[in-house]
Symmetry: none
Subunit: 203 residues, 4 copies
């Protein structure tokens, strides 16, 4: 094995990931319905049969991809999540989530495809989601304990304060609204203040 392929290996170090990335790309472009194993094979540059050395079947490929993409999203969004004040931490996550959601990257585009599958909201995936977003939940709980954030179920707080971040990102990505940094910053601030206990000066 030569040096070049060694370097490539460090980026995409095996066929398992190569196949995962191919599937991700295809799902991003055509949805889960548009995913055929032959397409994945073509995109990954392997034979169809090779996929089955790495994944038991199509279901498992999709499931692993889901796990993988979830991990990508979480790591992108939660970088440095523990630095600074609560407000800084919240806004950093909000903005990262927004920035991530705006991308047309395969990972992001495919991410949305899994969320609304009827059958697939397995307990396992749910656990995974909860684990990955634990830091956010913790942030909310800290805020509640400090008497800063409204004493609501973290999922309420997430729905109120974070969903708008993704919704705006989606609208921008789809070209429905133009991106304006000032507006986004404002929206982020609105979301933050929305979950605070009223009459609490935040600065």
């Amino acid at each position: 094995m030569n040096e070049r392929s060694f370097i490539l290996d460090s980026i995409m170090h095996n066929k398992h990931d190569l196949i995962l990335r191919a599937a991700e790309k295809i799902i991003a472009a055509g949805g889960i319905q548009g995913l055929s194993m032959q397409q994945v094979a073509n995109e990954a540059g392997v034979a169809a049969g090779t996929i089955y050395r790495y994944f038991k079947d199509k279901n498992e490929l999709i499931l692993e991809l889901r796990r993988d993409v979830l991990a990508q999203v979480a790591s992108a969004i939660l970088a440095d999540h523990d630095k600074g004040t609560l407000e800084q931490r919240f806004k950093r996550i909000w903005m990262k989530m927004h920035d991530y959601g705006k991308q047309r990257s395969p990972a992001n585009l495919s991410y949305e495809q899994y969320a609304h599958l009827p059958e697939s909201n397995t307990d396992e995936i749910r656990q995974l989601e909860m684990g990955l977003f634990a830091p956010l939940q913790q942030l909310f709980e800290e805020g509640i304990k400090q008497g800063l954030i409204q004493p609501l179920n973290p999922r309420f707080l997430y729905a109120i304060a974070m969903e708008p971040s993704m919704a705006l990102a989606r609208s921008i990505r789809r070209g429905l609204i133009e991106y304006d940094e000032k507006d986004i910053t404002l929206a982020c601030d609105i979301c933050w203040r929305a979950i605070l206990i009223p009459n609490t000066p935040t600065n």
Copy 2:
């Protein structure tokens, strides 16, 4: 055709709708992937070939269903949308949207399946969505003109104030959080106040 079927006709006045309802039900249960024309035919009580008298092909069936469901959603949410103060109007829509989204009705369950299809966000559907939600947009614009609501693009306002309504409904429907009327009322109020211009007393 006898009288009885005439009465039925006034409810489901033709096979076109019969097929649409069957497709809706199947998508609600098994997602768009789980939709086969034979299943639709069985559920609708017609022959497979009959579907093609009313719909050019499967794509068009799905597209029409999407239009149809969108109209259902809009009519459910926008009933009485023009009665009362801005706040009353907003909260009525917010609550109706929430109540609708909580349901396990075929219409609602299938609704989510279309939203995230990659290809299908046609201009036509976009126009339709905009038309149907025009009253909400108008509400926002009135609020802005009155100096009550923040002067932001209505889609921003929608993302900040309305997405949480649907997100909460989804979480409740999926059993992730328990329904508590007081909390929902609070969330609705938070969403409303979030888009107001600060320091504006709302009552």
Copy 3:
């Protein structure tokens, strides 16, 4: 539908049987391993998908064929099985079995293929076989009651007296021995006398 196809229908009155005959032919020529659904479709002159309107899957096709062939064999062998003395009845069955087994007909050739499948000796098939060969069993039992035939389990008697009939037929069919009517008649007589109680004059 014209007259000709009506007549054909009375011979091979539907696709179900058409497919069964095609499968039988292919198995006769190439064994069960050589049976592909596409081949069956080609041989039957139908599309591959059509097979699945008549048979749930390949297994069921094979199972039904097995039942069908078993019935063919039985009806060929057991015609007039109840006419005449015990000896005449036995010899008639023996000869018919022999004649049938000598044929290169698809039914006969495929028949042997099922017999030695490891998994497929289902209870159902076993019941079927027993039912079809009930007349033979009855013949043995009558002979035993009359003190003519040795008081052995009918399966013993079958093994001793009937298996040679099939074995000889197979050898002739495969060209290992030449057919000689006199010898066959002798073999038949030997088999009959073999199961009689010794010192019983049979004429």
Copy 4:
């Protein structure tokens, strides 16, 4: 290669046989249809590719296995075939054949799988079978010369006198009849006397 493997080698002296035994076992369990080269490799504890060092392809593996099993059967059945009177010799072979056929050993179970393959009744296999069963043929011929056994083609005699032995063994192995030594001894005697020239006292 150390001493221990040298001893093992004397039992199963090379991979060729190791692979053969693995294939035999798999065929015994699941029929020829259930034989995949990967399974054979796993069972034999070698890599899939290794099989191809010893066998040109799957067909040849099966063919060699067939030869091998045939030799096993013959050696098991024909041990001491030349000791004693004709009757003793016949009955010894008959009983050994019966005992062998009753076993659930891989060799025996796989043996039946080859017998009814349509294509594979090659001349070569035929020659092999004839060679291996030559002693039996010789026994028949001696009996004929002595005026003891009916002057029939040895294959006739085989069909009449020996097939029941295997047929009974099969029925016992499959649980269709219970094993009873007395009955088997009787059946063996019946088979022997069946091919004798009538009115010839055998003792």
